[in-house]
């Protein structure tokens, strides 16, 4: 069974352990390839980690004029090959998840390669190993289905473009396809509603 990342923003506590651990990698020392966002801090403490979803048909690779982004036999979309990448930024614009970052000093696209050096020797990716809340889980689909109530989702529609990803987003109920729109907002949690009714 193939091992993948399962990302559950509901469990995320915004601690940035994923970013800090990722930044320890000698390949991109000091710069994390995973990113944590507060969705709307004025309203909520909800946070979400964003990491390369390793698309089945990656837009970043298809728009790369230098053919610098390769997909390995297991479907892992690798970071741009340094000797080929021309730093054009096409991949940054094309990725529907907003994952690749351009390092202007090195003219190089950088993104998560699923800790190639760690997974190759049987270790889990650094972010999934350290994540203290289990918001980032690495394992097989069977494992995650055994231990979690949330459901894995791997198809996303961005307008007319539908992508299937190697990594999964965990969502509360079984969902075949998530339509991502600019107006998509997280529903208020019950706790957030209960705070509104507190007596002052």
């Amino acid at each position: 069974m193939i091992q993948e990342l399962y990302i559950d923003p509901n469990r995320c506590i915004g601690c940035r352990a994923c970013e800090q651990a990722c930044s320890e990698c000698p390949g991109h020392g000091g710069i994390p390839m995973i990113h944590l966002d507060f969705l709307d801090r004025a309203e909520s403490v909800q946070t979400a980690p964003t990491v390369c979803m390793h698309c089945e048909d990656p837009a970043c690779a298809s728009v790369c004029p230098a053919d610098a982004i390769k997909v390995d036999a297991e479907g892992v979309v690798l970071s741009a090959m340094a000797e080929r990448c021309i730093g054009c930024g096409n991949c940054v614009l094309a990725c529907p998840f907003g994952v690749p970052k351009l390092d202007p000093h090195r003219d190089l696209m950088m993104k998560c390669d699923l800790c190639y050096d760690r997974t190759a020797v049987g270790l889990r990716p650094m972010c999934a190993t350290v994540c203290p809340s289990g918001a980032i889980f690495y394992g097989t689909r069977g494992e995650v289905e055994d231990i979690r109530r949330a459901q894995p989702l791997d198809r996303f529609a961005f307008g007319a473009q539908t992508v299937r990803t190697r990594n999964h987003l965990m969502v509360p109920s079984p969902t075949d396809l998530l339509e991502v729109t600019t107006t998509l907002v997280a529903p208020r949690s019950r706790a957030e509603q209960l705070l509104e009714e507190c007596l002052c």
Partner: protein
């Protein structure tokens, strides 16, 4: 006089805090370390296992230690970046003496001679108890034990206390009263196996992040979650039931929940009859605490209080967890007892997946409160006022009982005695009271009144800047030892590297001082293992019995839960099984709790409640974490969190600089406007010193029993900065 020897600016220039961003040799160094060392994080009481990578005798990085059962590789950002405290430009590497213009290096022998001579001279003129020792709960068990013995036998003072006074003491006192034992009643594995988790006053996601995963694993099995907190913390956001209690009203809320439980018929009369005493007084005390009667006081609609009671009664197994949010109060012990009353009244303790714990805060928050560095305690959790306990320890130490001083003052009281000039000399280790005690200006005045102050430290903390002598001690990774984690699991701390330069291991410094104070034969230790052996033998028969715990067992079994009286005893992960408690009659004690208001309530002049706490990227007074670049980058400075409704009323926009004023002082900081806190409350994290110090605002008011300060409620007003 212990005023600063020169300007704070020039001290900061010389000794920091500066920021360390990268390991020596860059990030590549960690891929090919010379060796790796399995040890634990130096910060909070979770004591996560970590593997340190060592190259060229320097710590160059961290790897998750996936085999350690508690955290299985999981780490928070502090644990990942903790290694950057090593090889730090601010590290103290030579003894320093105060000069007219700052600090200057001084040879060790000269420094130690001065300490001994000044201590004895002050005691000659002002009595034995005019010198005090302040210690810390980040020290290993060995060092915590040593400090208590050192203060009482070598210095000969009754006044030794520790910074756990700002952390665990309310829970500890309440646990002793109710159960006769001060330790988490259950191992953390029981959280996973429960049906309902109730978390009170604990921002677990930021202050004990690994516990988040335990709670979620329970929820994956179908467990429900209740969170009680004035702030909507990350763990509260997804809770099944969230009770945004008004700060300082926890006991009233718990009484109301218990009232509703009684009304629902949820009381376990058999358990109460067989295993407890005192419930009738509680039943009487809560008779007029109906949810409907207290909803205005606690700030939560009665229907939600009843819902909490219903969830509690319906769940076959429950785990109640609390932390500083309900403990940092002038009625902290009462708040904890009101929680324990609910647990006992429903018989929900001492079973798999069913029990109770305080989430201890500091690195050795559990162990460091057991081995005699508290003002009222002797090793093994023994009572310094109990003649039998005194005799036992005196015999082990080879002294007569009268040689052991009596009960001393607590840490905040020691600072007040310094302010009154009743205490003239101070030795401190592992404590930064200028940042961590309430009413920081008062603490500063006190430090300035000392005749002599020696600090053992690895960085020049804000407090150590006031010292006459600074002795460079050891970082966590520079010494061996043991600590006791949040679960009551005794675990091994392993040395990764030697202290740099002339810095020495803390226990060597303390033993050297003891020798110069004429007590060398009682401090003839050659390794931490020697100290541990003495500690464990002495603890035998005490409440915190380490008698059967050896370094070898800890290495082999990844820790042992105390009590563990003999080497063939398996240890005790779960306490109170079969309803047997720690009191001589085996019964737990109920305590009738009447709600009392906080020491300083809001009024027209100071209409807003200030509550303080932590952020995930910093630890306590920040002596270490404010020196670690990637952690500082997560949140460079404190902000005052307030609800948009309060901000709108005050005309304050998000990010705007505001002044927060209490009766003790004022600080200016940026507003963080977010709908994740009660509108009558503001929150400021306390890790920062000086003009950014939340503790310039907090009040010197203490719990009458535990003497824990009321960090969680002060009255303030918030103003726009013109």
């Amino acid at each position: 006089m212990a005023t600063l020897p020169c300007s704070a600016e020039s001290l900061i220039e010389a000794y920091g805090p500066h920021l360390n961003h990268e390991p020596p040799g860059g990030f590549a160094a960690r891929t090919a370390p010379d060796r790796t060392v399995n040890t634990h994080c130096c910060f909070c009481g979770q004591q996560c296992g970590v593997t340190l990578a060592v190259k060229d005798e320097r710590v160059v990085g961290v790897e998750p230690w996936e085999e350690f059962p508690f955290n299985q590789g999981k780490l928070c950002p502090k644990g990942i970046k903790r290694y950057l405290q090593n090889n730090h430009p601010d590290r103290l590497t030579r003894p320093l003496v105060r000069t007219g213009r700052g600090f200057a290096p001084i040879p060790w022998d000269e420094a130690l001679d001065i300490v001994a001579e000044r201590i004895r001279r002050i005691q000659l003129h002002h009595g034995r108890d005019s010198v005090a020792v302040l210690s810390g709960a980040s020290l290993t068990n060995e060092k915590a034990y040593l400090m208590g013995k050192f203060a009482r036998l070598a210095v000969g003072t009754r006044h030794i206390d520790y910074n756990g006074r700002l952390c665990m003491v309310a829970a500890g006192a309440a646990n002793l009263k109710a159960f006769g034992i001060d330790r988490a009643a259950n191992p953390w594995a029981d959280i996973v196996a429960t049906d309902l988790v109730m978390v009170l006053g604990s921002n677990v996601s930021e202050c004990s992040p690994i516990t988040t995963d335990y709670i979620w694993r329970a929820r994956d099995r179908g467990a429900r979650l209740i969170v009680v907190d004035p702030r909507l913390t990350p763990i509260a956001r997804t809770a099944d039931l969230y009770l945004p209690v008004r700060p300082g009203r926890d006991a009233a809320l718990m009484n109301a929940i218990l009232h509703a439980v009684v009304r629902l018929g949820g009381v376990d009369e058999d358990f109460i009859a067989q295993h407890t005493t005192g419930f009738e007084a509680v039943r009487e005390a809560i008779a007029d605490c109906a949810p409907e009667a207290v909803e205005r006081l606690v700030g939560i609609p009665a229907a939600r209080i009843v819902e909490a009671a219903e969830l509690w009664v319906q769940a076959p197994r429950t785990m109640l967890l609390h932390a500083r949010g309900i403990e940092h109060h002038t009625h902290g012990v009462e708040n904890v007892l009101s929680c324990i009353n609910l647990v006992l009244a429903t018989g929900k303790i001492g079973k798999p997946g069913c029990g109770y714990a305080t989430i201890t805060g500091q690195g050795n928050g559990q162990g460091a409160r057991e081995h005699g560095q508290r003002c009222n305690q002797l090793p093994g959790g023994r009572d310094i006022e109990n003649p039998a306990h005194r005799a036992h320890v005196a015999a082990a130490w080879g002294v007569t009982e009268s040689d052991i001083p009596g009960k001393g003052a607590t840490a905040p009281e020691i600072v007040e005695m310094i302010h009154r000039r009743e205490v003239r000399g101070l030795l401190s280790i592992c404590f930064n009271p200028l940042v961590s005690l309430p009413d920081a200006r008062f603490t500063q005045e006190a430090l300035e009144r000392l005749d002599f102050f020696v600090a053992i430290d690895f960085f020049l903390s804000e407090t150590a800047r006031h010292a006459d002598l600074v002795l460079p001690g050891s970082l966590h990774e520079e010494d061996d030892g043991t600590v006791t984690s949040v679960e009551g699991r005794v675990i091994r701390i392993r040395k990764a590297v030697e202290p740099p330069g002339e810095a020495r291991r803390d226990w060597e410094i303390v033993c050297e001082l003891a020798r110069r104070l004429g007590q060398g034969e009682r401090f003839d230790f050659h390794a931490p293992a020697d100290i541990f052996d003495e500690l464990r033998r002495l603890s035998r028969g005490g409440v915190a019995d380490y008698g059967g715990i050896t370094y070898e067992r800890l290495d082999r079994d990844m820790g042992v839960f105390w009590p563990c009286p003999t080497e063939d005893h398996p240890g005790t992960p779960r306490l109170f099984e079969g309803g047997r408690f720690g009191h001589p009659d085996g019964r737990a004690r109920f305590h009738a709790i009447e709600y009392r208001p906080p020491a300083e309530d809001v009024d027209d002049e100071y209409p807003i409640i200030l509550t303080t706490g932590r952020v995930v990227s910093q630890f306590l007074s920040g002596t270490q974490t404010r020196r670690i670049g990637p952690l500082v980058a997560q949140q460079p400075e404190p902000k005052v969190e307030m609800h948009p409704r309060l901000a709108a009323r005050l005309g304050i926009a998000d990010g705007e600089r505001v002044r927060v004023v209490s009766r003790r002082g004022a600080i200016e900081l940026a507003a963080h406007v977010a709908a994740t806190i009660r509108p009558d409350t503001v929150f400021i994290p306390y890790h920062w010193p000086g003009a950014q110090s939340a503790n310039r605002l907090t009040i010197r008011a203490y719990d009458p029993i535990a003497k824990i300060p009321e960090f969680k409620v002060a009255a303030v007003r918030v103003e726009r900065v013109a």
